[in-house]
Protein backbone atom coordinates (compact mmCIF):
# COMPACT_ATOMS: atom_id res chain seq x y z
CA UNK A 1 0.00 0.00 0.00
CA UNK A 2 1.20 3.48 -0.77
CA UNK A 3 0.93 6.32 1.79
CA UNK A 4 -2.22 8.43 1.62
CA UNK A 5 -0.27 11.61 0.73
CA UNK A 6 1.36 9.97 -2.28
CA UNK A 7 -1.98 8.55 -3.37
CA UNK A 8 -3.62 11.97 -3.18
CA UNK A 9 -0.75 13.56 -5.14
CA UNK A 10 -1.00 10.92 -7.86
CA UNK A 11 -4.78 11.24 -8.06
CA UNK A 12 -4.34 14.99 -8.51
CA UNK A 13 -1.77 14.42 -11.28
CA UNK A 14 -4.13 12.05 -13.11
CA UNK A 15 -7.04 14.48 -12.68
CA UNK A 16 -5.00 17.30 -14.25
CA UNK A 17 -4.26 15.30 -17.40
CA UNK A 18 -6.33 15.70 -20.56
CA UNK A 19 -6.86 11.93 -20.58
CA UNK A 20 -5.93 9.84 -17.54
CA UNK A 21 -3.44 7.55 -19.25
CA UNK A 22 -1.40 10.54 -20.41
CA UNK A 23 -0.12 10.64 -16.81
CA UNK A 24 1.09 7.02 -16.96
CA UNK A 25 4.82 7.75 -17.08
CA UNK A 26 4.64 10.25 -14.22
CA UNK A 27 2.66 7.81 -12.10
CA UNK A 28 5.07 4.94 -12.81
CA UNK A 29 8.05 7.14 -11.96
CA UNK A 30 6.56 8.23 -8.63
CA UNK A 31 5.64 4.70 -7.64
CA UNK A 32 9.10 3.53 -8.64
CA UNK A 33 10.65 6.23 -6.47
CA UNK A 34 8.52 4.99 -3.56
CA UNK A 35 9.21 1.25 -3.92
CA UNK A 36 12.71 1.42 -5.39
CA UNK A 37 11.48 -0.38 -8.52
CA UNK A 38 8.13 -0.91 -10.18
CA UNK A 39 6.84 -3.87 -8.19
CA UNK A 40 3.85 -6.01 -9.20
CA UNK A 41 1.91 -4.21 -6.51
CA UNK A 42 2.95 -0.85 -8.02
CA UNK A 43 1.77 -1.97 -11.46
CA UNK A 44 -1.65 -2.77 -10.01
CA UNK A 45 -1.78 0.52 -8.13
CA UNK A 46 -0.80 2.44 -11.28
CA UNK A 47 -3.51 0.59 -13.20
CA UNK A 48 -6.22 1.51 -10.74
CA UNK A 49 -5.08 5.17 -10.61
CA UNK A 50 -5.00 5.42 -14.41
CA UNK A 51 -8.13 3.45 -15.17
CA UNK A 52 -6.12 0.88 -17.14
CA UNK A 53 -5.70 -2.85 -16.76
CA UNK A 54 -2.45 -4.06 -15.14
CA UNK A 55 -1.53 -5.53 -18.53
CA UNK A 56 -1.82 -2.12 -20.17
CA UNK A 57 0.51 -0.67 -17.54
CA UNK A 58 2.88 -3.60 -18.04
CA UNK A 59 2.96 -2.80 -21.75
CA UNK A 60 4.28 0.65 -20.91
CA UNK A 61 6.51 -0.32 -18.00
CA UNK A 62 8.47 -2.83 -20.06
CA UNK A 63 9.02 -0.33 -22.85
CA UNK A 64 10.84 2.43 -21.02
CA UNK A 65 14.45 1.86 -20.03
CA UNK A 66 14.19 4.07 -16.95
CA UNK A 67 11.30 2.07 -15.49
CA UNK A 68 12.69 -0.95 -13.63
CA UNK A 69 10.49 -4.03 -13.51
CA UNK A 70 13.03 -5.95 -11.47
CA UNK A 71 14.67 -5.13 -8.15
CA UNK A 72 17.61 -2.76 -8.52
CA UNK A 73 20.22 -1.36 -6.15
CA UNK A 74 19.66 1.85 -4.19
CA UNK A 75 21.26 3.73 -7.09
CA UNK A 76 21.25 2.66 -10.71
CA UNK A 77 24.33 3.45 -12.78
CA UNK A 78 23.61 4.04 -16.46
CA UNK A 79 26.86 4.13 -18.39
CA UNK A 80 26.74 5.36 -21.97
CA UNK A 81 28.12 3.05 -24.66
CA UNK A 82 27.04 5.00 -27.75
CA UNK A 83 29.32 6.28 -30.49
CA UNK A 84 30.60 9.58 -29.05
CA UNK A 85 31.57 7.94 -25.79
CA UNK A 86 33.04 4.99 -27.73
CA UNK A 87 35.38 7.47 -29.45
CA UNK A 88 36.84 8.35 -26.07
CA UNK A 89 37.07 4.78 -24.72
CA UNK A 90 33.86 4.18 -22.79
CA UNK A 91 34.76 0.48 -23.10
CA UNK A 92 37.64 1.05 -20.68
CA UNK A 93 35.32 2.84 -18.25
CA UNK A 94 32.74 0.05 -18.45
CA UNK A 95 35.41 -2.58 -17.76
CA UNK A 96 36.62 -0.54 -14.81
CA UNK A 97 33.09 -0.23 -13.40
CA UNK A 98 32.50 -3.98 -13.74
CA UNK A 99 35.75 -4.75 -11.96
CA UNK A 100 35.32 -2.13 -9.26
CA UNK A 101 31.74 -3.15 -8.46
CA UNK A 102 32.33 -6.86 -8.96
CA UNK A 103 29.30 -7.26 -11.23
CA UNK A 104 28.53 -7.91 -14.87
CA UNK A 105 26.34 -5.50 -16.84
CA UNK A 106 22.84 -5.83 -15.43
CA UNK A 107 24.13 -6.93 -12.04
CA UNK A 108 23.63 -5.47 -8.59
CA UNK A 109 26.44 -5.19 -6.03
CA UNK A 110 26.37 -7.62 -3.12
CA UNK A 111 25.57 -4.80 -0.67
CA UNK A 112 22.54 -3.76 -2.76
CA UNK A 113 23.98 -0.31 -3.37
CA UNK A 114 24.49 -0.14 -7.15
CA UNK A 115 23.02 -1.72 -10.27
CA UNK A 116 25.15 -1.35 -13.40
CA UNK A 117 23.37 -0.92 -16.75
CA UNK A 118 24.64 0.17 -20.16
CA UNK A 119 22.60 2.91 -21.77
CA UNK A 120 22.20 4.71 -25.04
CA UNK A 121 23.38 8.23 -25.78
CA UNK A 122 22.76 10.51 -22.79
CA UNK A 123 23.23 13.73 -24.74
CA UNK A 124 26.55 14.29 -23.00
CA UNK A 125 28.62 13.64 -26.14
CA UNK A 126 30.77 16.71 -25.51
CA UNK A 127 31.66 15.40 -22.05
CA UNK A 128 32.14 11.69 -22.62
CA UNK A 129 32.77 9.15 -21.33
CA UNK A 130 29.58 9.73 -19.40
CA UNK A 131 27.36 7.98 -16.88
CA UNK A 132 24.58 8.81 -14.47
CA UNK A 133 24.36 7.54 -10.92
CA UNK A 134 20.94 7.69 -9.30
CA UNK A 135 19.93 10.26 -11.91
CA UNK A 136 22.97 12.53 -11.40
CA UNK A 137 25.00 12.95 -14.62
CA UNK A 138 28.79 12.69 -14.59
CA UNK A 139 31.11 13.33 -17.54
CA UNK A 140 34.78 13.29 -18.59
CA UNK A 141 35.19 10.03 -16.69
CA UNK A 142 38.56 8.49 -15.90
CA UNK A 143 39.01 5.35 -13.78
CA UNK A 144 40.19 7.54 -10.89
CA UNK A 145 37.19 9.85 -11.19
CA UNK A 146 34.84 6.85 -11.32
CA UNK A 147 36.31 5.60 -8.01
CA UNK A 148 35.79 9.01 -6.42
CA UNK A 149 32.20 9.27 -7.66
CA UNK A 150 31.30 5.78 -6.42
CA UNK A 151 32.77 6.55 -3.01
CA UNK A 152 30.91 9.85 -2.82
CA UNK A 153 27.61 8.33 -3.96
CA UNK A 154 28.02 5.57 -1.36
CA UNK A 155 28.45 8.17 1.40
CA UNK A 156 25.51 10.29 0.24
CA UNK A 157 22.83 7.78 1.26
Amino acid sequence: MIPETLKKALEARVASAITAREAAVDVMKELQAHYGWLTDEAVEEAASLLGLSPLQVEELATFYEMIYRRPVGKKVIHVCDSISCWCVDCDGIIEHLKEKLGVALGGTTADGMFTLLPCCCMGMCGDGPAMSVGGIPYGKLTPELVDEILEMERQKI
Binding site: I18, S82, C121, M122
Partner: protein
Protein backbone atom coordinates in the same frame (compact mmCIF):
# COMPACT_ATOMS: atom_id res chain seq x y z
CA UNK B 1 26.17 39.39 -37.70
CA UNK B 2 24.44 38.23 -34.53
CA UNK B 3 23.16 34.69 -34.79
CA UNK B 4 19.75 34.03 -33.21
CA UNK B 5 20.17 30.99 -30.96
CA UNK B 6 23.14 31.49 -28.64
CA UNK B 7 23.11 35.30 -28.53
CA UNK B 8 21.49 35.35 -25.08
CA UNK B 9 23.81 32.75 -23.57
CA UNK B 10 25.82 33.41 -20.43
CA UNK B 11 28.81 31.35 -19.40
CA UNK B 12 27.80 28.54 -17.05
CA UNK B 13 24.34 29.78 -16.14
CA UNK B 14 20.89 30.23 -17.56
CA UNK B 15 19.93 33.68 -18.87
CA UNK B 16 17.31 35.42 -16.72
CA UNK B 17 13.87 36.44 -17.95
CA UNK B 18 14.77 40.15 -17.57
CA UNK B 19 18.04 39.77 -19.45
CA UNK B 20 16.29 37.96 -22.27
CA UNK B 21 13.69 40.74 -22.58
CA UNK B 22 16.29 43.52 -22.41
CA UNK B 23 18.10 41.91 -25.32
CA UNK B 24 15.03 41.95 -27.53
CA UNK B 25 13.37 38.78 -26.31
CA UNK B 26 9.57 38.58 -26.75
CA UNK B 27 9.71 41.39 -29.35
CA UNK B 28 8.76 38.87 -32.04
CA UNK B 29 5.82 37.74 -29.94
CA UNK B 30 4.65 41.33 -29.41
CA UNK B 31 5.00 42.10 -33.09
CA UNK B 32 2.93 39.08 -34.09
CA UNK B 33 0.18 39.34 -31.47
CA UNK B 34 -0.36 43.06 -32.00
CA UNK B 35 0.21 43.49 -35.72
CA UNK B 36 0.29 40.24 -37.70
CA UNK B 37 -2.37 37.71 -38.63
CA UNK B 38 -1.66 34.01 -37.99
CA UNK B 39 -1.40 33.52 -41.77
CA UNK B 40 1.23 36.28 -41.97
CA UNK B 41 3.30 34.61 -39.25
CA UNK B 42 3.12 31.32 -41.13
CA UNK B 43 4.03 33.00 -44.42
CA UNK B 44 7.06 34.66 -42.81
CA UNK B 45 8.27 31.25 -41.61
CA UNK B 46 7.71 29.78 -45.09
CA UNK B 47 9.63 32.67 -46.70
CA UNK B 48 12.49 32.38 -44.21
CA UNK B 49 13.50 29.00 -45.61
CA UNK B 50 13.73 27.53 -42.08
CA UNK B 51 14.12 23.75 -42.22
CA UNK B 52 13.50 21.24 -39.43
CA UNK B 53 16.58 21.06 -37.19
CA UNK B 54 15.75 17.69 -35.65
CA UNK B 55 17.31 15.71 -38.48
CA UNK B 56 14.99 15.43 -41.45
CA UNK B 57 15.42 19.04 -42.59
CA UNK B 58 11.85 19.35 -43.84
CA UNK B 59 10.77 22.98 -44.50
CA UNK B 60 9.04 24.09 -41.30
CA UNK B 61 6.52 26.50 -42.83
CA UNK B 62 5.45 23.87 -45.32
CA UNK B 63 4.95 21.35 -42.52
CA UNK B 64 2.70 23.88 -40.82
CA UNK B 65 0.75 24.45 -44.03
CA UNK B 66 -0.33 20.77 -44.10
CA UNK B 67 -2.59 21.37 -41.10
CA UNK B 68 -6.12 21.75 -42.50
CA UNK B 69 -7.48 25.18 -41.59
CA UNK B 70 -11.13 24.17 -41.48
CA UNK B 71 -11.21 20.99 -39.33
CA UNK B 72 -13.30 21.38 -36.19
CA UNK B 73 -11.92 20.40 -32.77
CA UNK B 74 -8.61 21.09 -31.09
CA UNK B 75 -5.27 20.98 -32.85
CA UNK B 76 -1.92 20.47 -31.19
CA UNK B 77 1.72 21.50 -31.25
CA UNK B 78 4.39 19.27 -29.76
CA UNK B 79 8.00 20.26 -29.28
CA UNK B 80 10.26 17.26 -29.72
CA UNK B 81 12.96 17.42 -27.06
CA UNK B 82 13.57 13.67 -27.07
CA UNK B 83 17.15 14.27 -28.13
CA UNK B 84 18.59 10.74 -28.27
CA UNK B 85 20.32 10.60 -31.64
CA UNK B 86 23.87 9.55 -30.69
CA UNK B 87 26.26 12.46 -31.04
CA UNK B 88 23.50 15.04 -30.60
CA UNK B 89 23.36 17.31 -27.56
CA UNK B 90 22.51 20.74 -29.00
CA UNK B 91 18.98 21.01 -27.58
CA UNK B 92 20.27 20.27 -24.09
CA UNK B 93 22.96 22.95 -24.35
CA UNK B 94 20.45 25.46 -25.74
CA UNK B 95 17.86 24.83 -23.01
CA UNK B 96 20.39 24.76 -20.20
CA UNK B 97 21.39 28.30 -21.22
CA UNK B 98 18.09 29.73 -22.45
CA UNK B 99 14.57 28.28 -22.22
CA UNK B 100 12.90 31.51 -23.39
CA UNK B 101 13.57 31.34 -27.13
CA UNK B 102 11.75 28.01 -27.20
CA UNK B 103 8.86 29.26 -25.07
CA UNK B 104 8.44 32.35 -27.26
CA UNK B 105 8.87 30.31 -30.44
CA UNK B 106 6.22 27.82 -29.38
CA UNK B 107 3.81 30.61 -28.48
CA UNK B 108 4.32 32.08 -31.95
CA UNK B 109 3.87 28.68 -33.59
CA UNK B 110 0.64 28.13 -31.63
CA UNK B 111 -0.58 31.54 -32.79
CA UNK B 112 0.20 30.74 -36.42
CA UNK B 113 -1.43 27.30 -36.23
CA UNK B 114 -4.42 28.15 -34.07
CA UNK B 115 -3.28 25.86 -31.25
CA UNK B 116 -4.62 26.37 -27.73
CA UNK B 117 -2.53 23.78 -25.93
CA UNK B 118 1.03 22.67 -26.68
CA UNK B 119 3.41 20.16 -25.15
CA UNK B 120 7.16 19.90 -24.76
CA UNK B 121 8.22 16.25 -24.80
CA UNK B 122 11.46 15.99 -22.82
CA UNK B 123 13.71 12.95 -22.63
CA UNK B 124 14.90 11.36 -19.40
CA UNK B 125 18.18 12.86 -18.27
CA UNK B 126 17.29 16.41 -19.32
CA UNK B 127 15.94 17.38 -15.91
CA UNK B 128 17.92 20.62 -15.84
CA UNK B 129 16.45 21.71 -19.17
CA UNK B 130 12.99 20.74 -17.89
CA UNK B 131 13.46 22.79 -14.71
CA UNK B 132 14.55 25.83 -16.75
CA UNK B 133 11.48 25.47 -18.96
CA UNK B 134 9.09 25.05 -16.02
CA UNK B 135 10.50 28.20 -14.44
CA UNK B 136 10.47 30.09 -17.74
CA UNK B 137 6.85 29.17 -18.43
CA UNK B 138 5.78 30.54 -15.04
CA UNK B 139 7.60 33.81 -15.66
CA UNK B 140 6.17 34.23 -19.14
CA UNK B 141 2.69 33.62 -17.70
CA UNK B 142 3.20 36.22 -14.96
CA UNK B 143 4.27 38.75 -17.59
CA UNK B 144 1.14 38.11 -19.66
CA UNK B 145 3.15 36.57 -22.51
CA UNK B 146 1.66 33.10 -22.11
CA UNK B 147 -1.53 31.61 -20.64
CA UNK B 148 -4.85 33.45 -20.63
CA UNK B 149 -5.41 36.40 -22.99
CA UNK B 150 -1.84 36.98 -24.11
CA UNK B 151 -0.94 40.70 -24.13
CA UNK B 152 -4.62 41.46 -23.57
CA UNK B 153 -5.68 39.87 -26.87
CA UNK B 154 -8.28 37.15 -27.33
CA UNK B 155 -5.57 34.52 -27.70
CA UNK B 156 -4.85 32.06 -24.88
CA UNK B 157 -2.12 29.45 -25.09
CA UNK B 158 -0.92 26.85 -22.58
CA UNK B 159 2.41 25.02 -22.56
CA UNK B 160 2.85 21.76 -20.67
CA UNK B 161 5.91 19.61 -20.07
CA UNK B 162 5.87 15.84 -20.60
CA UNK B 163 8.84 14.12 -18.98
CA UNK B 164 9.61 10.82 -20.63
CA UNK B 165 11.49 7.76 -19.40
CA UNK B 166 13.96 6.89 -22.13
CA UNK B 167 13.96 5.09 -25.52
CA UNK B 168 15.20 6.54 -28.80
CA UNK B 169 12.06 5.63 -30.72
CA UNK B 170 10.05 8.20 -28.73
CA UNK B 171 11.72 10.83 -30.91
CA UNK B 172 9.96 9.45 -34.01
CA UNK B 173 6.99 11.77 -34.33
CA UNK B 174 4.17 9.22 -34.39
CA UNK B 175 5.79 7.16 -31.61
CA UNK B 176 6.14 10.38 -29.67
CA UNK B 177 2.42 11.05 -30.09
CA UNK B 178 1.64 7.56 -28.77
CA UNK B 179 4.00 8.14 -25.83
CA UNK B 180 2.34 11.44 -25.01
CA UNK B 181 -1.09 9.80 -25.05
CA UNK B 182 0.19 7.19 -22.58
CA UNK B 183 0.26 4.39 -25.15
CA UNK B 184 3.14 2.09 -25.93
CA UNK B 185 5.41 4.21 -28.15
CA UNK B 186 5.41 2.18 -31.34
CA UNK B 187 5.29 4.32 -34.47
CA UNK B 188 1.96 4.68 -36.25
CA UNK B 189 1.38 3.92 -39.88
CA UNK B 190 1.40 6.95 -42.16
CA UNK B 191 -0.83 8.19 -43.75
CA UNK B 192 -2.71 9.70 -42.10
CA UNK B 193 0.10 12.10 -41.26
CA UNK B 194 0.08 13.83 -37.86
CA UNK B 195 -0.76 17.15 -39.55
CA UNK B 196 -4.19 15.63 -40.26
CA UNK B 197 -4.59 12.99 -37.54
CA UNK B 198 -2.10 13.09 -34.71
CA UNK B 199 -2.47 13.60 -30.98
CA UNK B 200 -5.90 12.36 -29.87
CA UNK B 201 -6.71 12.13 -33.58
CA UNK B 202 -6.46 15.91 -33.97
CA UNK B 203 -4.24 17.82 -36.40
CA UNK B 204 -0.75 17.92 -34.86
CA UNK B 205 2.58 19.56 -35.66
CA UNK B 206 5.75 18.12 -34.15
CA UNK B 207 8.82 20.39 -34.33
CA UNK B 208 12.30 20.12 -32.88
CA UNK B 209 13.57 22.44 -30.10
CA UNK B 210 16.11 24.24 -32.28
CA UNK B 211 13.55 24.74 -35.06
CA UNK B 212 11.05 26.41 -32.75
CA UNK B 213 13.73 28.45 -30.97
CA UNK B 214 14.51 30.13 -34.31
CA UNK B 215 10.96 31.48 -34.78
CA UNK B 216 11.15 34.56 -32.48
CA UNK B 217 14.13 36.06 -34.34
CA UNK B 218 12.53 35.26 -37.71
CA UNK B 219 9.36 37.12 -36.77
CA UNK B 220 11.22 40.02 -35.11
CA UNK B 221 13.75 40.53 -37.91
CA UNK B 222 11.95 39.19 -40.95
CA UNK B 223 12.48 36.32 -43.34
CA UNK B 224 15.07 38.11 -45.50
CA UNK B 225 17.27 38.71 -42.46
CA UNK B 226 17.12 35.00 -41.56
CA UNK B 227 17.92 33.87 -45.09
CA UNK B 228 20.82 36.30 -45.19
CA UNK B 229 22.49 34.67 -42.18
CA UNK B 230 23.51 31.67 -44.27
CA UNK B 231 26.83 31.71 -46.10
CA UNK B 232 25.46 30.00 -49.21
CA UNK B 233 22.54 31.31 -51.30
CA UNK B 234 20.44 28.10 -50.96
CA UNK B 235 20.73 28.03 -47.16
CA UNK B 236 18.96 29.95 -44.42
CA UNK B 237 19.80 30.81 -40.83
CA UNK B 238 22.31 29.34 -38.43
CA UNK B 239 22.83 25.81 -37.16
CA UNK B 240 23.90 24.37 -33.86
CA UNK B 241 26.75 21.96 -34.45
CA UNK B 242 27.47 19.70 -31.51
CA UNK B 243 30.86 18.17 -32.08
CA UNK B 244 32.23 15.08 -30.39
CA UNK B 245 35.02 12.55 -30.94
CA UNK B 246 38.60 13.45 -31.80
CA UNK B 247 38.53 17.26 -31.79
CA UNK B 248 40.50 19.33 -29.29
CA UNK B 249 37.54 21.08 -27.65
CA UNK B 250 34.33 19.09 -27.96
CA UNK B 251 31.66 21.77 -27.98
CA UNK B 252 28.29 22.88 -29.25
CA UNK B 253 28.74 25.92 -31.47
CA UNK B 254 26.32 28.08 -33.44
CA UNK B 255 27.55 28.86 -36.95
CA UNK B 256 25.90 30.13 -40.12
CA UNK B 257 24.40 27.49 -42.38
CA UNK B 258 26.90 26.93 -45.17
CA UNK B 259 29.97 27.07 -42.89
CA UNK B 260 32.52 24.58 -44.21
CA UNK B 261 33.17 21.35 -42.36
CA UNK B 262 36.74 22.53 -41.80
CA UNK B 263 35.52 25.75 -40.15
CA UNK B 264 33.17 23.75 -37.90
CA UNK B 265 36.10 21.63 -36.73
CA UNK B 266 38.29 24.75 -36.36
CA UNK B 267 35.64 26.27 -34.10
CA UNK B 268 36.35 23.29 -31.85
CA UNK B 269 40.12 23.84 -31.90
CA UNK B 270 40.74 21.42 -34.77
CA UNK B 271 41.87 17.85 -34.26
CA UNK B 272 43.24 16.58 -30.96
CA UNK B 273 47.00 16.65 -30.57
CA UNK B 274 48.63 13.96 -32.68
CA UNK B 275 45.38 12.80 -34.31
CA UNK B 276 44.67 12.84 -38.02
CA UNK B 277 41.14 13.22 -39.41
CA UNK B 278 39.87 10.00 -40.96
CA UNK B 279 36.13 10.58 -41.35
CA UNK B 280 33.17 12.10 -39.60
CA UNK B 281 29.47 11.58 -39.34
CA UNK B 282 27.98 15.04 -39.85
CA UNK B 283 24.45 14.81 -38.52
CA UNK B 284 24.00 12.23 -35.78
CA UNK B 285 24.19 8.43 -35.89
CA UNK B 286 21.88 7.92 -38.86
CA UNK B 287 23.96 9.78 -41.44
CA UNK B 288 26.72 8.65 -43.79
CA UNK B 289 30.43 9.35 -43.44
CA UNK B 290 32.18 12.42 -44.80
CA UNK B 291 35.87 12.07 -45.70
CA UNK B 292 38.95 14.35 -45.75
CA UNK B 293 38.04 15.47 -49.29
CA UNK B 294 34.87 17.04 -47.87
CA UNK B 295 36.69 19.56 -45.65
CA UNK B 296 35.62 22.52 -47.81
CA UNK B 297 32.02 21.30 -48.08
CA UNK B 298 29.48 23.96 -47.01
CA UNK B 299 27.36 22.47 -44.24
CA UNK B 300 23.93 23.03 -45.68
CA UNK B 301 21.09 20.53 -46.18
CA UNK B 302 21.25 20.34 -49.98
CA UNK B 303 25.03 20.41 -50.38
CA UNK B 304 25.63 17.75 -47.74
CA UNK B 305 22.92 15.64 -49.39
CA UNK B 306 24.64 16.04 -52.76
CA UNK B 307 27.88 14.83 -51.16
CA UNK B 308 26.05 11.62 -50.19
CA UNK B 309 25.29 12.29 -46.54
CA UNK B 310 22.88 14.42 -44.50
CA UNK B 311 23.23 17.49 -42.33
CA UNK B 312 20.82 15.71 -39.98
CA UNK B 313 20.82 16.98 -36.42
CA UNK B 314 24.22 18.68 -36.65
CA UNK B 315 25.76 16.09 -34.33
CA UNK B 316 29.26 15.88 -35.82
CA UNK B 317 31.15 12.79 -34.67
CA UNK B 318 34.83 12.93 -35.62
CA UNK B 319 36.96 9.82 -36.14
CA UNK B 320 40.75 9.79 -36.43
CA UNK B 321 43.20 7.35 -38.01
CA UNK B 322 43.31 5.24 -34.84
CA UNK B 323 39.57 4.47 -35.05
CA UNK B 324 38.40 1.30 -36.78
CA UNK B 325 35.31 2.25 -38.77
CA UNK B 326 34.01 -1.33 -38.81
CA UNK B 327 33.96 -1.20 -35.03
CA UNK B 328 32.45 2.30 -35.09
CA UNK B 329 29.67 1.08 -37.40
CA UNK B 330 29.18 -1.96 -35.18
CA UNK B 331 28.72 0.39 -32.24
CA UNK B 332 26.10 2.36 -34.18
CA UNK B 333 24.23 -0.77 -35.29
CA UNK B 334 24.31 -2.10 -31.72
CA UNK B 335 22.61 1.10 -30.64
CA UNK B 336 19.92 0.84 -33.30
CA UNK B 337 19.34 -2.87 -32.66
CA UNK B 338 18.86 -2.19 -28.95
CA UNK B 339 16.55 0.76 -29.59
CA UNK B 340 14.38 -0.95 -32.20
CA UNK B 341 10.86 -0.99 -30.77
CA UNK B 342 10.24 -4.44 -32.27
CA UNK B 343 7.06 -3.44 -34.04
CA UNK B 344 8.03 -4.48 -37.55
CA UNK B 345 10.06 -7.47 -38.67
CA UNK B 346 12.83 -6.07 -40.91
CA UNK B 347 14.00 -3.78 -38.11
CA UNK B 348 13.53 -6.19 -35.20
CA UNK B 349 15.19 -9.16 -36.93
CA UNK B 350 17.39 -7.40 -39.46
CA UNK B 351 19.37 -5.15 -37.15
CA UNK B 352 20.57 -7.93 -34.80
CA UNK B 353 21.54 -9.97 -37.87
CA UNK B 354 23.60 -7.08 -39.27
CA UNK B 355 25.16 -6.68 -35.83
CA UNK B 356 26.17 -10.36 -35.82
CA UNK B 357 27.83 -10.08 -39.22
CA UNK B 358 29.72 -6.93 -38.29
CA UNK B 359 30.83 -8.53 -35.02
CA UNK B 360 32.11 -11.51 -37.00
CA UNK B 361 34.06 -9.27 -39.38
CA UNK B 362 35.49 -7.15 -36.58
CA UNK B 363 36.64 -10.29 -34.73
CA UNK B 364 38.39 -11.71 -37.80
CA UNK B 365 35.77 -14.35 -38.62
CA UNK B 366 34.22 -12.57 -41.56
CA UNK B 367 33.82 -14.11 -45.00
CA UNK B 368 33.91 -12.52 -48.44
CA UNK B 369 30.15 -13.12 -48.90
CA UNK B 370 29.41 -11.01 -45.83
CA UNK B 371 29.91 -7.78 -47.74
CA UNK B 372 27.21 -8.75 -50.24
CA UNK B 373 24.89 -9.83 -47.41
CA UNK B 374 25.38 -6.49 -45.70
CA UNK B 375 24.64 -4.67 -48.96
CA UNK B 376 21.37 -6.59 -49.31
CA UNK B 377 20.37 -5.53 -45.84
CA UNK B 378 21.06 -1.88 -46.64
CA UNK B 379 18.39 -2.34 -49.30
CA UNK B 380 15.86 -4.50 -47.40
CA UNK B 381 15.92 -2.56 -44.15
CA UNK B 382 14.28 0.35 -45.94
CA UNK B 383 11.02 -1.60 -45.99
CA UNK B 384 9.98 -0.61 -42.50
CA UNK B 385 7.26 1.27 -40.67
CA UNK B 386 9.44 4.18 -39.59
CA UNK B 387 12.86 5.72 -40.28
CA UNK B 388 14.79 3.90 -37.53
CA UNK B 389 16.11 1.00 -39.60
CA UNK B 390 16.73 3.05 -42.76
CA UNK B 391 18.59 5.51 -40.54
CA UNK B 392 20.65 2.66 -39.10
CA UNK B 393 21.56 1.56 -42.61
CA UNK B 394 22.97 4.99 -43.54
CA UNK B 395 26.34 4.61 -41.78
CA UNK B 396 26.55 0.97 -42.93
CA UNK B 397 25.90 2.02 -46.50
CA UNK B 398 28.58 4.69 -46.08
CA UNK B 399 31.03 2.16 -44.65
CA UNK B 400 30.56 -0.15 -47.64
CA UNK B 401 30.74 2.73 -50.10
CA UNK B 402 33.71 4.65 -48.70
CA UNK B 403 35.66 2.13 -46.65
CA UNK B 404 35.09 -1.20 -48.38
CA UNK B 405 38.87 -1.73 -48.41
CA UNK B 406 38.97 -1.47 -44.63
CA UNK B 407 36.12 -3.98 -44.31
CA UNK B 408 37.82 -6.36 -46.75
CA UNK B 409 41.14 -6.04 -44.93
CA UNK B 410 39.41 -7.38 -41.79
CA UNK B 411 38.17 -10.38 -43.76
CA UNK B 412 41.45 -11.12 -45.57
CA UNK B 413 43.75 -10.65 -42.58
CA UNK B 414 41.26 -12.41 -40.28
CA UNK B 415 41.68 -9.69 -37.65
CA UNK B 416 41.05 -6.00 -37.10
CA UNK B 417 44.00 -4.23 -38.75
CA UNK B 418 43.83 -1.45 -36.17
CA UNK B 419 44.22 -3.65 -33.14
Amino acid sequence: MTLPLFRHNRANRVVTFDEYREEGGFEGLKKAFTGMSPAEVQQTVIDSGLRGRGGAGFPTGRKWSFVPRDLPGPRWLICNCDEMEPGTYKDRVLLEHNPYSLIEGMTLACYALGVRHAFIFIRKGYEKAAANLAHGIEEAKKAGLLGEKILGTEHSIDLDLHLSAGRYICGEETALINALEGRRPNPRQKPPFPAVKGLWQGPTVVNNVETLANIPAIIANGSAWFKGLALNPEGAGSKLFCVSGSVKNRACVELPIGTTLEAVLDACGGMREGRKFKACIPGGASTQFLKPEHMKLPMDYDTVAKAGSRLGSGGVIVFDESHCLVEATLNLITFFARESCGWCTPCREGLPFVREILTRIENGRGEEDDIAILREHVKYLNYTFCALAPGAMAPLDGLLRDFEDEVREHIVKKRCPLK
